[in-house]
Amino acid sequence: MKNMKKQLSALSAGLLLGWLVTGCATQTPSAQAPKTTKPAAAPAVAAKPAGVRSPSMLANTCAGCHGTNGASAGKIMPIIGGMEKEYMQLVLEEFKTGERDSTIMGRIAKGYSNNELKAIASYLADQTWVSSPFKADPKLAAIGKKIHEKQCKTCHEDGGRVQEDDAPRLAGQWPDYSLHYLKDCHKKGRRCAPRKMGSRVMKLSQEELNAMAHYYASEK
């Protein structure tokens, strides 16, 4: 089921290709439709009707903070390249409405229509996920793994590698970011969305939250 979903999203990415600037020369996206049609077959930037901004035009502005194609090199900035499309779209919309707390993303997301946020999400989703090079503490990672097995894996399958529209990829994420998010969730408790996550995270100690962050960082 999941694979089929992935194929579908790859297919729709392919349909969009005609007006996408595809990938970076240094990345070779696997299992993605753009690969086959990437070379000069289609012009890199096709003419667009005035007023419509292409997905690459929109999404490339994210790279200043999130790294080229969303592969973040900064430890507190989340890696967003290769994240599940619907999930990212939802997050961006929640930033825009203020439903999701942020320091700066709310201010930025308000600058785009929902269609543009969707285009940004799908462009970034088509990029290859690049895990952080962080070397996790094995002891902490082992503690985190136990908690994950007991409480998290129903939604965050395969060590947080599997993505759904309501569950982002956790494996390979920068631990500073994961910890920042978990601490926020811990503080909010049941107000953290989804509530079932909030009610579990709120019972963990700060050390356990840190262990979770290390565990997901260890799963590349």
Binding site: A46, H66, T68, A73, G74
Partner: protein, 428 residues
């Protein structure tokens, strides 16, 4: 050419071997590309990005980056060097990845002449390079003449440190050598200038150093202006962390500096004279030198461009990006240059493929670090309306005045990760 250490040489040679092709350039061979030749002058926040994003979008375009320095030192975050929390090496980058990973040709040379009619540029080395499209990202130059007695020579002793590098280190050393109880004056420039919040972050970083090591000392900002970027947030942060240690003198209150007396370490204002132990003069600015030589700037000292493509309105097939250009409502910031580099890259790629430029999208995000755990930001999302870059209404803005300490701490961390990512966007 600087000397390569053996280890670096082996590493560089290995990188080439791995790719099976050495990216080298000679003026005569450059330009056999199927789709055309692009020369980018200046490898900073704008130029490095334009070069990389053109190549990413269309590998069939030949890109040559000409930069006068072998290494790049980032201005953003350089105030942390003055504060003592960072060394200059952490701000220093080279062009190896752009060359080896992205196939961009790189020349260390200073362009001294642009022949817009012939589509060629000439370097100080005497070499000549031909282009189909030229991207000029020269940053800023200084209007030394606005302050009597100030010039490039005096700036070695009384640094502007507004281009990161040796002067940043000089200023830091002067602060370190200063006795407790001394005064550091910062003369802040009139608008428009590179990095509008920069002088005020600098004051905070110097105060951060004084607070730890020279608590009786003061930082006084002598401003040519009567208001400045993120003013409320800065004043709040100054008061919270540094009390009376930082003082701001507006232009109307005598902050405008007209002359400097280097022998007596004195700044001469309209009304008062200011003698200080450490002086930092950030002069008024204009577009980088080559923009003036090439006739790309107008009477304002900056370069008018088509704000959709960044093509000069004065010379065809030459684009100007970054601090040097007039980009509507966008400030002269590193992020703005990055964003403009990408819009320009897309327009150049479109043109060389025979297409119209797409509709542009631009962003600016700018962090300032007032104390190690106290960061503030301003952001804006821009669009093109009637040929002008304007902010999208309802978006962007400042960090809230009433944010808690945790939020400020996170923003300081974001500032440092922003730096990691924006420089990775340029150099990896």
């Amino acid at each position: 050419m600087t000397q390569l250490t053996r280890r670096k040489f082996v590493k560089a040679a290995g990188a080439c071997a791995a790719l099976g092709a050495m990216v080298s350039v000679s003026p005569r061979t450059f330009g056999k590309a199927k789709k055309g030749r692009v020369i980018v002058i200046g490898g900073g926040y704008g130029g490095a990005i334009a070069a990389k994003y053109i190549k990413m979008a269309d590998p069939d375009i030949d890109v040559l980056l000409i930069e006068k320095n072998a290494n790049y030192v980032s201005c953003p975050l350089s105030n942390e060097v003055l504060g003592g929390d960072r060394d200059i090496d952490s701000l220093t980058f080279d062009y190896a990845n752009l060359s080896h990973k992205h196939g961009i040709s790189f020349m260390t040379d200073e362009v001294v002449e642009i022949d817009a009619a012939k589509h060629s540029v000439k370097g100080k080395s005497g070499k000549q390079y031909d282009y189909d499209k030229l991207v000029v990202s020269p940053g800023v130059d200084f209007r030394y003449e606005k302050i009597d007695g100030y010039n490039a020579g005096v700036a070695e002793q009384i640094p502007h440190a507004w281009k990161a590098g040796p002067q940043t280190v000089t200023l830091r050393k002067q602060l370190e050598a200063m006795k407790d109880g001394g005064v550091c004056y910062i003369a802040a420039p009139p608008n428009p200038f590179r990095c509008p919040p920069g002088p005020y972050e600098r004051a905070a970083q110097i105060a951060h150093y004084f607070k730890q090591h020279k608590p009786k000392s003061k930082v006084i900002i002598l401003d040519a202006k009567d208001k400045f970027s993120k003013q409320g947030l800065f004043m709040q942060g100054y008061k919270k962390f540094y009390g009376d240690m930082i003082e701001w003198v507006s232009g109307a209150s005598g902050g405008i500096i007209e002359a400097v007396d280097p022998k007596n370490n004195t700044l001469v204002g309209e009304v008062d004279e200011y003698k200080g132990e450490v002086l930092n003069i950030i002069p008024a600015q204009k577009a980088g030198k080559i923009a003036h030589i090439a006739g790309l700037a107008n009477d304002s000292g900056w370069c008018p461009v088509n704000q959709k493509t960044f093509e000069s309105t004065l010379h065809k097939d030459i684009h100007v990006i970054g601090d040097a250009c007039i980009a509507g409502k966008m400030p002269k910031s590193g992020y703005a240059a990055n964003s403009q580099g990408k819009v320009c890259a897309a327009a150049v790629v479109a043109a060389l493929n025979g297409n119209e430029a797409g509709e542009p999208s631009y962003v600016n995000t700018c962090y300032s670090i007032i104390a190690p755990e106290w960061g503030i930001s301003v952001a804006a999302v821009y669009q093109l309306v009637d040929g002008k870059i304007v902010g999208v209404k309802g978006a962007g803005g400042l960090s809230p005045m009433n944010a808690n300490a945790n939020t400020r701490a996170i923003e300081a961390q974001f500032a440092r990760s922003w730096f990691k990512n924006i420089t990775a966007d340029m150099f990896t």
